[in-house]
């Protein structure tokens, strides 16, 4: 299996350019997942059993079906009922919604890790609910969540190639296009793998740094 370094060098700039789309897709999807996840987590703590059960069912459904199927559904089935979205938007909504179900669980676990006595002390000191949440509960709940959330972001990053299947021209799709034009797969795919590896390693290193800071 010969590896053509000249060819690799010539396509690298295109691939690096495409990784910007991949990185952007990761950040946007992650932001969407953080926000939807928050609503899901709040919904799971709702006073109304119907809301709790509905949201629990929806998260189970999303977690138990493949991301690829969900993206196909959003991109190819929704237009049939008149909802058409551009590929990138479809991709980030799909990926974001999928991961929001996992992130809701991270929020829940984080909030539950704060002992009940902290709430009771807040009530006894006459804090209102929202002040107790923002000043006493969240500052204790959030730090342990950060490394977990960051690891989900890295996992999401590695899942972005599924967006190629709904025609988002991200890193994987760009490599695919180059490869199929020339019938040369070794160099583009190797480079894609290396770019993912490099970025994931850098991100993991970052997570470990943050983790080290949080553990006092």
């Amino acid at each position: 299996m010969p590896f053509d370094f000249e060819f690799a060098k010539s396509i690298l700039p295109h691939l690096l350019e495409a990784s910007v789309i991949t990185i952007a897709a990761t950040f946007v999807s992650f932001a969407i997942a953080l926000v939807i996840g928050l609503f899901l987590a709040l919904g799971l703590r709702s006073r109304f059993a119907l809301v709790r059960r509905g949201i629990w069912g929806a998260t189970q459904f999303i977690r138990s079906t493949p991301l690829l199927v969900q993206l196909y559904f959003l991109f190819f089935v929704l237009p049939e009922i008149g909802i058409t979205m551009p590929p990138f938007l479809t991709g980030v909504i799909g990926l974001g919604a999928h991961y929001s179900c996992y992130i809701a669980e991270v929020y829940r676990a984080g909030l539950e890790s704060v002992p009940k006595g902290q709430w009771e002390a807040a009530v006894a000191l006459n804090y209102g609910r929202s002040r107790a949440m923002t000043e006493i509960i969240l500052p204790q709940a959030i730090p342990p969540m950060i490394p977990v959330l960051a690891n989900y972001m890295i996992t999401m990053f590695k899942d972005t190639p599924v967006m190629a299947s709904i025609t988002v021209i991200e890193l994987m799709q760009t490599a695919n296009i180059i490869a199929s034009e020339r019938f040369l797969y070794v160099e583009p795919m190797t480079l894609v793998g290396l770019i993912f590896l490099a970025l994931s390693l850098v991100a993991s290193f970052g997570v470990r740094l943050i983790e080290g800071r949080l553990v006092r």
Partner: protein, 256 residues
């Protein structure tokens, strides 16, 4: 003058378990009262209902002559809203068995931040008040430490200072020495002894420290099955209890 705390026919159940069974209790202004009795007799629940950490299923609680769970709107009596509960809570402070200090704040901030946020005290005033109270409980050299670096006894003294910063009329102490190593109990009891000299401060303590209860209380309430089975001065309850259960309990405690 009316009692500072009145419980009238208070009922509290947890599922099938009756924790407070038509409890009647009065505490006078400035009085120091100790609640003793077997575990599960409802002593801690009394404190928790006064602090609104538990709702009640029946009866009435009055603090400073005003209903805790109800308020007047015009001529009608309606369930208390959050504003009413907050006004009522401001008269009461509570110290917990497990200290419940805020681990992300230093000792100073634990005492200073709540009065800043909740009472809206300006920073210099809140800080002065906090420093004074931290010195009162003997921890002036620990102001910038985090709770995790303190012993249990030190943490509990900070928790007492934190509650006192609100200048409550009533202080509730819920087994405040039960989670402490034996050699750390004394330093916390010394702080309580000091507070007992405050003429105007009402203190209600749930305790298993019989010697201490006897020493600083004006009155002892012996609880059983969610009611007061016997009450009186420490001399009366400890020396010549009239109730068989009280006698049995005190004998068992003395043997321990």
């Amino acid at each position: 003058m009316s009692p500072i705390i009145t419980l009238r026919d208070v009922r509290k159940t947890f599922g099938p378990l009756v924790v407070l069974d038509g409890l009647n209790m009065e505490v006078q202004r400035g009085e120091k009262v100790a609640l003793i009795g077997p575990s599960g007799s409802g002593k801690s629940t009394v404190l928790r209902t006064i602090m609104t950490l538990e709702t009640i299923d029946g009866g009435e609680i009055e603090i400073d002559g005003e209903s805790l769970w109800h308020m007047k709107r015009g001529s009608r009596v309606v369930p208390a809203n959050e504003a009413h509960l907050r006004r009522m809570r401001s008269k009461v402070g509570m110290v917990f068995q497990q200290f419940n200090l805020f681990p992300h704040w230093t000792v100073l901030k634990n005492v200073m931040n709540p009065v800043r946020t909740v009472l809206g005290l300006p920073e210099p005033e809140a800080r002065a008040r906090a420093e004074e109270l931290i010195a009162l409980v003997g921890l002036q050299d620990k102001v910038n430490q985090y709770p995790g670096r303190l012993s249990g006894g030190q943490q509990q003294r900070v928790a007492i200072a934190r509650a006192l910063a609100f200048r409550p009329k009533v202080m509730l102490f819920d087994e405040v020495t039960s989670a402490l190593d034996p050699e750390l109990v004394g330093e916390v009891l010394n702080v309580l002894r000091m507070l007992a000299h405050e003429h105007d401060l009402t203190m209600i303590m749930v305790t298993h420290q019989m010697g201490f209860a006897r020493e600083i209380s004006d009155r002892i309430l012996f609880f059983e099955h969610g009611r007061i089975a016997e009450e009186g001065t420490p001399e009366k309850v400890f020396n010549c209890p009239t109730n068989d259960r009280t006698r049995a309990f005190l004998t068992a405690v003395r043997q321990a």
